[in-house]
């Protein structure tokens, strides 16, 4: 236990890095995901194709490979960035198709009559999407979206293997010094992750119930 107390500042610093990775990549993935989702339902065929290929390719690439590429291949191509930024880029790219799919399934979940009604009173594609379909879709999208972000919190741990000193890397550093208290250290780190993921999970479940009642 004393290994945890002694090294608490290291854990806190790592936790800060984890949270900032989560915040930056989460924001980036959300923006990128919305763009991809819009492209995927747009009237223009080539946009749909591009977005579909992007989604399929990124979703089927292991995260380790994405971050490996960001950490080793990008610098090789003369991209001179901090490893933190590289990891944030990797996580953003990796998470964006999942955001896009969550949004798209929300749009698909809006009853077809809603869109028909919007179209029949003469709204355009943009109008019916932004004033009729999206406001309803967003509600259904929020719980799965929260689940995507929970996964992102957990995924930041992979960045720890690629030169970003976040929580996972902090754990490894501390373990190197205090090999005698591995269990306590790892449980402490797990607690940090659970502090974020469990409340988010509860929030998603609670929201899901409310949405279900509303519909």
């Amino acid at each position: 236990m004393d290994a945890v107390i002694e090294n608490f500042p290291t854990f806190l610093a790592g936790f800060g890095q984890t949270l900032s990775l989560f915040a930056i990549a989460g924001l980036g993935a959300f923006v990128l995901g919305v763009i991809v989702a819009t492209l995927r339902i747009s009237p223009i065929a080539s946009f749909r194709t591009i977005a579909t290929i992007y989604t399929e390719v990124v979703r089927n690439t292991p995260l380790t490979l994405v971050l490996f590429g960001c950490a080793f291949i990008l610098p090789y191509l003369d991209v001179r960035l901090d490893f933190f930024v590289l990891a944030a880029i990797g996580l953003t790219v990796y998470t964006s198709p999942f955001v896009a799919e969550a949004i798209r399934s929300g749009v698909n979940g809006v009853p077809i009559g809603q869109a028909e009604a919007a179209r029949s009173i003469g709204l355009t594609f943009g109008q019916s999407l932004s004033t009729v379909v999206m406001p309803q879709a967003i509600r259904m999208v929020i719980p799965p979206l929260i689940n995507v972000f929970i996964a992102l919190v957990k995924n930041t741990s992979v960045a720890g293997a690629f030169f970003v000193v976040e929580l996972f890397a902090a754990a490894r550093i501390v373990i190197n010094v205090r090999g005698d208290q591995v269990i306590a250290i790892l449980l402490a780190v797990a607690a940090f992750y659970l502090v974020v993921t469990i409340p988010l999970g509860q929030l998603a479940a609670a929201l899901e119930k409310r949405v279900a009642v509303l519909r």
């Binding site: 339902i41 009237p43 223009i44 065929a45 080539s46 946009f47 089927n60 690439t61 292991p62 995260l63 380790t64 490979l65 490996f68 590429g69 080793f72 191509l77 990796y94 998470t95 999942f98 969550a102 399934s105 929300g106 749009v107 698909n108 979940g109 809006v110 009853p111 077809i112 869109a115 028909e116 179209r119 355009t124 594609f125 379909v133 259904m140 719980p143 799965p144 689940n147 995507v148 929970i150 996964a151 992102l152 957990k154 995924n155 741990s157 992979v158 996972f168 754990a171 373990i175 591995v182 269990i183 790892l186 797990a190 992750y193 993921t197 999970g201 998603a204 479940a205 899901e208 519909r215």
Partner: protein, 305 residues
């Protein structure tokens, strides 16, 4: 929602406009790719003042003519598939146990199981692998297998639980009324139906598991990525680093896309409306298509992890 509802069937003018935008977008994407390819192919001067040939130069791909290289890659693929297969079997077993514990009548089973499930689902897989590696000193292979099995077992458990909960109440009542014990009812009546209902989602989760075997790279297991990119580029020289990485990426994509396709095929074959029940599974992201307009499309989205 079918896409055509959101906009009118395009007339000749709109069709022309959309075609022009299509072509412009296509050209932009191709131009971007071409730029990337040319940049990669350009000769570079390294820090030591040595000129390196571009990435598409034959000298950086010639090792792939060697059969030994492909044998080494094959070993990597096998190592990855082996880990995935063992972990998948264990994950399903663990998932079944979890789902029974979670739906048990006795409170002293149900509540601890729920807590344990919550604990496992909230943790990064990587942390579990590290835990097994250091605490049980099992070696990287079993660390990877155990981490993947427990984490995905917890998720499959939740999926199966949702499947059992979503069954019509009459199934259980019918089982009990013909004199089966509650446990026999669960095993013989409820569970087989829930499993079949949820099969597409379980397969989708197994694709995630296969993808996650790459995490074992970090705890030091020699799977595809380490075998090919680290070992082979150490052996043949750093100039092959990029080519080897590219090959690994393609192999992963080929395996995963095939499996995803199989999952979709199974979903269509069974015609299961698993999406409705999956909507109740927290943590199975992207499956929450609330209405069932496109059953083939729902319930198959992978969890990010």
């Amino acid at each position: 929602m079918s896409q055509s509802v959101l906009y009118d069937a395009p007339g000749p003018k709109a069709r022309r406009r959309s075609r022009i935008i299509s072509i412009v977008a296509g050209v932009l994407v191709i131009a971007g790719l071409a730029w990337l390819i040319i940049t990669l192919g350009a000769e570079r001067v390294t820090a030591g003042g040595v000129t390196q040939p571009g990435l598409w130069d034959a000298s950086r791909w010639d090792i792939f003519l060697d059969l030994a290289v492909w044998r080494a890659i094959g070993r990597g693929v096998l190592a990855t598939l082996q880990m995935a297969a063992v972990a998948a079997v264990l994950a399903i077993v663990i998932g079944i146990l979890f789902s029974f514990g979670r739906t048990a009548k006795a409170r002293w089973i149900r509540i601890p199981t729920a807590v344990v499930l919550e604990f496992f689902r909230g943790m990064p897989v990587l942390l579990m692998m590290l835990f097994v590696l250091l605490v049980f000193s099992t070696g990287s292979y079993w660390a990877g297998v155990a981490g993947l099995a427990v984490y995905n077992g917890a998720i499959i458990g939740e999926i199966l639980r949702a499947g059992i909960v979503a069954l019509p109440k009459g199934q259980r009542e019918a089982g009990l009324s013909i004199g089966l014990t509650p446990i026999a009812t669960r095993f013989l009546i409820e569970f087989p139906q829930a499993f079949r209902q949820m099969l597409p989602i379980i397969i989708a989760q197994l694709v995630v598991l296969l993808k996650d075997t790459a995490l074992a790279y970090i705890v030091g297991y020699t799977e595809l990525l380490r075998q090919v990119v680290n070992r082979l580029s150490n052996f043949y020289g750093n100039e092959y680093f990029f080519s080897l990485f590219f090959v690994v990426l393609l192999i992963y994509l080929a395996i995963n896309l095939t499996l995803s396709w199989i999952a979709r095929f199974v979903a269509r074959k069974t015609g299961s409306h698993a999406g409705a029940a999956a909507a109740k599974v927290p943590g199975v992201e992207g499956t929450q298509a609330i209405t069932m307009q496109r059953p083939a499309d729902t319930g198959l989205d992978q969890t990010p992890r």
